[in-house]
Amino acid sequence: MNQKNIDNIIELSNELRWQIGDDFHDNLTEGIYADAADIVKDTVQVDHSKKRFRLDSKIDKIVTSKTFGFPIMFLILGTVLWLTIVGANYPSSLLANLLLDNIHPLLKSGAASIGMPWWLDGFLIDGVYLAVAWVIAVMLPPMAIFFPMFTLLEDFGYLPRVAFNLDSLFKKSGAHGKQALTMSMGFGCNAAGVVATRIIDSPRERLIAIITNNFSLCNGRWPTQILIATIFIGAVVPSSISSFVSLLAVIGIAVLGMAFMFTVSWALSKTVLKGEVSTFNLELPPYRPPRFWKTIYTSLIDRTLIVLWRAIVFAAPAGAVIWLISNIYIGNESIASWAISSMDGFGFLLGLNGVILLAYIVAIPANEIVIPTILMLTVMVTGISGGEGAGVMFELDSMNATGDVLRAGGWTLLTAINLMLFSLLHNPCSTTIYTIYKETKSAKWTIFASIMPVILGFVVTFLVAQFWRLFI
């Protein structure tokens, strides 16, 4: 091989290309398709005489019709979400009962009987084990319900029709119709939603979908929203409508999330992302009956377990950190209470408090452990009775008891509302951040996607807090 000859070949190609002009690609593609048409003419026979019933187009006519298209869509997606949230309650409490109320004491007494030093027992069992157990109990059931259902819809071929129906809404905010699906997937888990953006084959729209996926309230945050809404918002209205109002509040937060998703998508496409390539095409594949059990199996393996595993990997060290900051003392104060008092001022500006901010910092790995951490820290700084001890996360069986602890920690209706807002608008969990990095392969966009929501959260909670204090 001779380098000079190769350079000559490349030089020749440049020269030839210049002579051919700029239509090379068009001509080549047209040539290939012309060949394909020639071959097909000789080999393929379509018997038009037998009029066949096109089930596909019948279904399509219905699911994309003006009258039925949207109701069907909301019905299906609503059912999926409802089944997920409601259906997960029972297995979740079962798991919590098993992992937190039975195995945890068992492990503690086992550790005591072999004479494990208190700090090792605390670090491993109260820290690492509890965090992992919590994440499994809260996260596994909804995901094991949500992902198989979503995958069934996907395999059947319905989801592309949803993208088709909704595209013009998303187009207005510079996004791709398929973002409707990655967004819905985000209601299950943001990390899975970010992975799902692979179906968007246009670079600009894909980045938009990745960056804004965090505005979909994920499974780890639904329970927080429901708990806080029930305790604080449900309490200010007559008890006959309290559950209805608190449900409305949670839905309001989810809808607000979608509003942020559209606004931020629009702003991104007009500013930082306007130079990225943007294309659109959407294939509507034929419907194929999904193979039920196989789909269930693969969605459990491919999606649920992989995401759960990642969450566990990140939650374990978080548990350790939570235990450590509450048990390592600098002078007379634990790291946790020192951090809380130094962040209290900033927290107050945002209508929150130091406990909440610290909980969100240490709970970056998993939104599931935010409430247990807040409870533990509140008990620790207020010194009220209850709780399991420094660094041991816990949850209370009754909502009233939870409410009492939080009110003792100085919570008001404003704190509750701002916590709900901040739970919607804060950085993605570390599993999602890691996934964003893997998908974009860009530190710049990962950092942007992580920081932008927190800043939004600060601004929104700050404004709400000031106006609240001014007018109420």
Partner: protein, 340 residues
């Protein structure tokens, strides 16, 4: 927190937001203006002068100091300084009052033009920037790329012959392809021709042309030509332009007897139950979008019909080569068809 009250907190917040806006708002933010002024060094001025001289000489106009100072957006003293330096370096010389490019100056100018047009081509093919932004971005870039980077860029783009406005891109040896054609107002009624160039300066007129949806490479037929307006037909639509606007379009008349298909339409005008054959994709669809459309089978001669109407009006799904593919309205408008 002693003297906290919500009003002062809000005031501080809005002051900070306002400051950030003043500094960093796009283009007019102080930060960007400062940065731009900082970067306008002597090299930039020299290169801009060379480019202006090149364009003037190409269009057969003569330039003296006064005209130059008028067209360039720099302080007079800096321009004079730059010109002195350029005469010393033999880039330009004076013929009495008239400024002229020397051989080296001309080569240098061609290099700048090459970078500018290549970069516009790059922006058109490989990025999503809107076409109104190409020119300004290329103006910045032309001072930045060195010789090797330019050649790498050209290779990456496949050594294109023309920029997206139809201007020829000089090769690295200084070869420039010929743009055929005359200004649109010079054409007779009923002439058939192809638009080969759209002038992107002045901006006001260029924007007007863009708004009309007229693009390079499309066939036109002149219907009416008088002092007040020029009417022509292209891609199934009729356009009416004032002569001053039309003068920015260069059209190359087609000598051969081509049959300009009378009932060419855009795919976006296809109705349910109608079928059509694809004539081609308008040159306005370029880069990655164009490639995707071609790959998906939107090629000359393909049969197409509407598979599904959208409840919200767009995108519609089209049945092409056995598959249902949804396209947005603006994409469908760039696919030319002939209805059956």
């Amino acid at each position: 927190m002693n003297n906290y009250n919500p009003i002062s907190a809000l005031i501080i917040f809005f002051v900070i937001v306002a400051l950030l806006f003043v500094f960093f708002r796009p283009i007019k933010g102080w930060f960007w203006i400062l940065r731009k002024n900082f970067k306008n060094n002597e090299k930039t001025i020299i290169e801009d002068i060379l480019k202006q001289l090149y364009h003037f000489e190409n269009s057969g106009n003569k330039v003296d100091m006064k005209t130059l100072v008028q067209v360039l957006d720099y302080k007079n003293t800096r321009i004079v300084e730059a010109i002195n330096k350029m005469t010393i370096n033999d880039l330009i010389y004076f013929e009495s009052d008239i400024l002229k490019l020397s051989e080296t100056g001309r080569e240098y100018a061609l290099r700048i033009v090459r970078v500018h047009r290549l970069w516009e081509r790059y922006l058109a093919d490989k990025t999503g920037f809107h076409k109104t932004e190409w020119h300004d971005r290329a103006e910045m870039m032309e001072h930045k790329l060195n010789h090797d980077e330019t050649n790498t860029l050209a290779a990456h783009l496949g050594n294109p012959k023309f920029d997206p406005h139809g201007d020829p891109i000089p090769t690295k040896t200084g070869k420039v392809a010929q743009v055929n054609g005359v200004e649109l107002p010079l054409l007779q009624v009923n002439t058939i021709g192809r638009i080969t160039h759209i002038e992107d300066e002045p901006e006001v007129i260029y924007k007007q042309i863009l708004a009309e949806n007229i693009h390079i490479g499309s066939l036109i037929r002149v219907i009416e030509n008088n002092n007040t307006r020029i009417t022509f037909q292209s891609e199934g639509e009729e356009f009416k332009l004032a002569p001053i606007v039309a003068a920015n379009l260069t059209v190359s008349p087609i000598e051969k007897e081509v049959v300009i298909e009378d009932n060419i339409a855009r795919l976006s005008s296809l109705d349910e139950e109608e079928t059509a054959k694809i004539i081609g994709i308008s040159k306005e669809s370029r880069g990655e979008s164009r490639r995707r459309l071609l790959d998906l089978g939107f090629v000359k001669g393909a049969k197409i019909s509407i598979d599904l109407m959208n409840p919200l009006g767009e995108p519609h799904a089209y049945l092409i080569k056995g598959t249902s593919i949804a396209l947005r309205k603006d994409q469908a408008a760039k696919i030319l068809i002939k209805k059956d």
